[in-house]
């Protein structure tokens, strides 16, 4: 126990001696947490629309007005012809083209039906799908207006109307950053913990100081624990700073209990630090350790459900995602902070994290060899 204390004192001294790293550890997550959530926003608005109006009627003008006042679309110039509008798409100046044919108003009134052409730049799938859907909805709204104008209010005789009332729970104002800030905080925690611990043992290898420890009677678990505890405390500190930023800057107050949140963070940090130390024991130099850590953390990030929905993945990918500690923590952080889920409701994920923590650390201890 006393030996562990000496190890810890040494690690802390080294940590505080290198001010540039210490500054990085705190500044980087803080700055990123202040800026990144603003960028991580899937809201599709400001869609650039090129309009080709061949009709120039009061109906086509009314439809245009409805589209521009919806808030989703921005008119990027009315083009005289369809090919010219397409050219705008080529140059990425427009995302979507709406062509209103000649005789739009006349046909609608006389024939009772009329087509309009919509062309979407589908390279960005989400934007295309949602942009198209919004435009269709506006057109259909306008359609109802036209009908109202000709047929009068109320359901037409013999027709049925189903009213859909939609409410959103947990984030009624629909603020995307409320969803992203907790998850980005978790990711930053992972970066700090994962990278620093991955670099640590291998740094002693590169400097040669590990030899001096290997000829000493230090136990392996003492060594690993001595490496882990400082980073663990550091991680909890970063987490606390992050929560304060979430509260002070974004006004996000956890609905659930802070105790549960910290319990989870504590177990998660042990897991991710064990992961970093494991990489460290396998690497020969810092560059290698960093690249290996980066490789995994990159995959963790993409697979964790942080930016894309887990539900949309194929079954094999979902299995893979469940094997990643980050996945469970991101899910739980969102559950606790946004929905106020209690310990009982997230106990399953806590179990997962505990297993990761035990497995990764045991593996790291076993793989750290004092004698080769």
């Amino acid at each position: 126990m006393r030996i562990l204390l000496f190890l810890l004192r040494k690690e802390f001294r080294q940590m505080f001696r290198d001010r540039s790293i210490l500054a990085l550890i705190f500044l980087m997550p803080t700055v990123q947490l202040l800026i990144l959530p603003q960028a991580a926003n899937y809201d599709v608005k400001n869609i650039n629309l090129a309009l080709v109006d061949h009709d120039h009627s009061s109906y086509s003008r009314e439809l245009t007005r409805k589209i521009t006042s919806s808030g989703y679309f921005r008119l990027v110039g009315a083009s005289p012809s369809y090919p010219e509008a397409l050219h705008l798409i080529e140059e990425s100046q427009a995302d979507i083209v709406l062509e209103i044919p000649r005789g739009f108003e006349r046909n609608l009134v006389r024939e009772g039906t009329q087509q309009v052409a919509v062309a979407v730049d589908a390279i960005n799938g989400t934007r295309a799908a949602l942009g198209g859907a919004y435009l269709t909805r506006i057109i259909s709204d306008y359609n109802s207006d036209v009908r109202l104008q000709w047929l009068g209010p109320g359901p037409a005789r013999g027709t049925s109307v189903i009213d859909v009332a939609a409410i959103n729970w947990y984030n009624p104002l629909g603020r995307y950053y409320v969803f992203m800030v907790p998850a980005i905080l978790v990711l930053l925690l992972t970066l700090v913990g994962g990278f620093l611990s991955a670099l640590n043992i291998v740094r002693e290898k590169e400097l040669g100081t590990i030899e001096q420890l290997n000829v000493s009677p230090i136990k392996k678990w003492q060594f690993i624990l001595g490496k882990m505890i400082p980073f663990w405390l550091l991680g909890l500190l970063v987490f606390t700073i992050g929560l304060l930023i979430a509260r002070g800057v974004y006004g996000i107050v956890p609905v659930g209990s802070l105790g549960t949140l910290y319990l989870f963070a504590a177990v998660y940090l042990v897991a991710i630090l064990g992961f970093g130390l494991l990489i460290s024991t396998y690497s020969e130099n810092q560059l290698q350790a960093m690249f290996v850590a980066f490789f995994f953390i990159m995959i963790f990030t993409l697979m964790s459900g942080l930016f894309t929905s887990l539900d949309s993945m194929p079954a094999w990918a979902r299995v893979l995602a469940n094997l990643i500690p980050l996945t469970h923590f991101i899910e739980v952080v969102r559950l606790i902070i946004l929905k106020g889920s209690g310990l009982a409701e997230v106990s399953c994920q806590l179990g997962y994290e505990a297993i990761f923590a035990v497995v990764l650390n045991t593996w790291a201890i076993l793989n750290y060899r004092k004698t080769t």
Partner: protein, 369 residues
């Protein structure tokens, strides 16, 4: 000149001897391409939906049947109370619930107006609004069927939608230029910064600098292997996209290589700049990886729409070489445009490369003095 070649060869040995790092350099883009191609999708589907059916009649059965047929939804055992529903939400088991009140069909039959309620998990507003849109569309579809049976509606505007460039809505398409930009940016910057700082740490940099080479040549020798490596990485990603993801390269491959070279030079210079201002490998790596990973991921423009950035933050993407590179690759590779359409972006990229190279070289010389 011959000496320079000897020098470059030495740097190649360094790079190619470290097998594990090499594996990562090529494994990372491969894994990313495969993930984006086969696992990740920004589409919303397989949503866990609870149907709370207090009505239990033909009309609700009909709508539920439609939901089951949709690939967007995955119907869950329905909790029959609001309390049970809330628990399901808090365990993360459902994303939305559709509630049919007990008198749904009766109302629909008698007054021509039925009401139902959607409760969506709004913690993710994007998914919530997509779910609502999908559900409303399905219900609307049912409504149209009802009405069609009763006689067609007059005054019908029919939008005909065409999907340009990507008619199958292949989700991975948009990611390929993004992965290219991301991987090249991180790999080049890190490799350069670390390799130079490592020589500084070990003291071997001084050995090189007292040799009869001009410092500029030392840097060129260090940069060439990374340039080659990065172009190989680029080639790998292109090959994977074409042969594994079935993406067609529409524009000129030569142009792509040209622009990529410019971009890589910009990233290498950035790495050099980082190495100038850092003293240890650890700091260099933390800056070039931890500091660059998320900003590159988020500000390049392939994950999130940049239009959503508030005011001053909208400037940030313009400062990132990866953003301009992404725009060019997307236009050339996916849309098949020529140099005429992307000269502006290419020029900006070129300007950035020259500026970064200039600053870092100047800085390098100052530090020597």
């Amino acid at each position: 000149m011959k000496q320079l070649l000897v020098f470059i060869r030495k740097e190649f040995y360094h790079v190619f001897r470290d097998r594990r790092t090499l594996l990562i350099l090529f494994g990372l883009p491969t894994a990313q391409i495969l993930l984006f191609g086969f696992a990740l999708s920004s589409e919303v589907k397989n949503i866990n939906l609870a149907v709370v059916d207090f009505a239990h009649d033909q009309a609700t059965q009909h709508i539920i049947g439609k939901l089951q047929a949709s690939r967007y939804f995955h119907l869950q055992q329905a909790p029959l109370s609001y309390a049970a529903m809330e628990t399901a939400f808090r365990q993360g088991k459902i994303k939305a619930a559709l509630v049919f009140p007990a008198n749904f069909s009766a109302d629909l039959g008698h007054t021509g107006r039925g009401q139902l309620q959607i409760v969506a998990d709004g913690s993710d507003p994007n998914t919530a609004s997509t779910i609502t849109t999908y559900l409303t569309a399905i219900v609307g579809d049912y409504q149209r069927q009802l009405n069609q049976a009763a006689g067609a509606l007059p005054f019908q505007i029919v939008p005909e939608t065409r999907l340009l460039y990507n008619p199958e809505m292949n989700g991975s398409l948009n990611f390929i230029p993004g992965v290219l930009a991301l991987v090249l940016m991180i790999v080049c910057t890190t490799l350069t910064s670390v390799s130079i700082v490592r020589e500084k740490e070990r003291g071997t940099m001084e050995v090189l600098l007292v040799s009869p080479f001009r410092p500029l040549l030392v840097l060129i020798a260090k940069a060439v292997p990374y340039l080659v490596l990065s172009l190989l990485d680029f080639t790998l990603i292109l090959l994977l996209s074409v042969f594994v993801l079935d993406v067609e390269i529409r524009g000129s491959v030569m142009l792509l290589y040209g622009v990529s070279t410019v971009f890589i030079v910009a990233c290498l210079s950035l790495g050099l700049l980082i190495s100038n201002v850092t003293a240890s490998q650890q700091v260099a790596m933390l800056v070039s990886m931890m500091g660059m990973m998320l900003p590159t991921l988020l500000f390049t423009g392939f994950m999130f729409p940049l239009e959503n950035l508030p005011g001053p933050l909208r400037l940030i993407p313009n400062l990132l070489p990866s953003h301009w590179y992404y725009l060019v690759v997307k236009a050339v590779m996916l849309k098949g445009l020529g140099f005429g359409a992307v000269w502006r972006e290419t020029l900006i990229l070129l300007g950035m490369s020259v500026a970064l190279l200039g600053i870092s070289l100047r800085n390098f010389n100052i530090r020597l003095a």
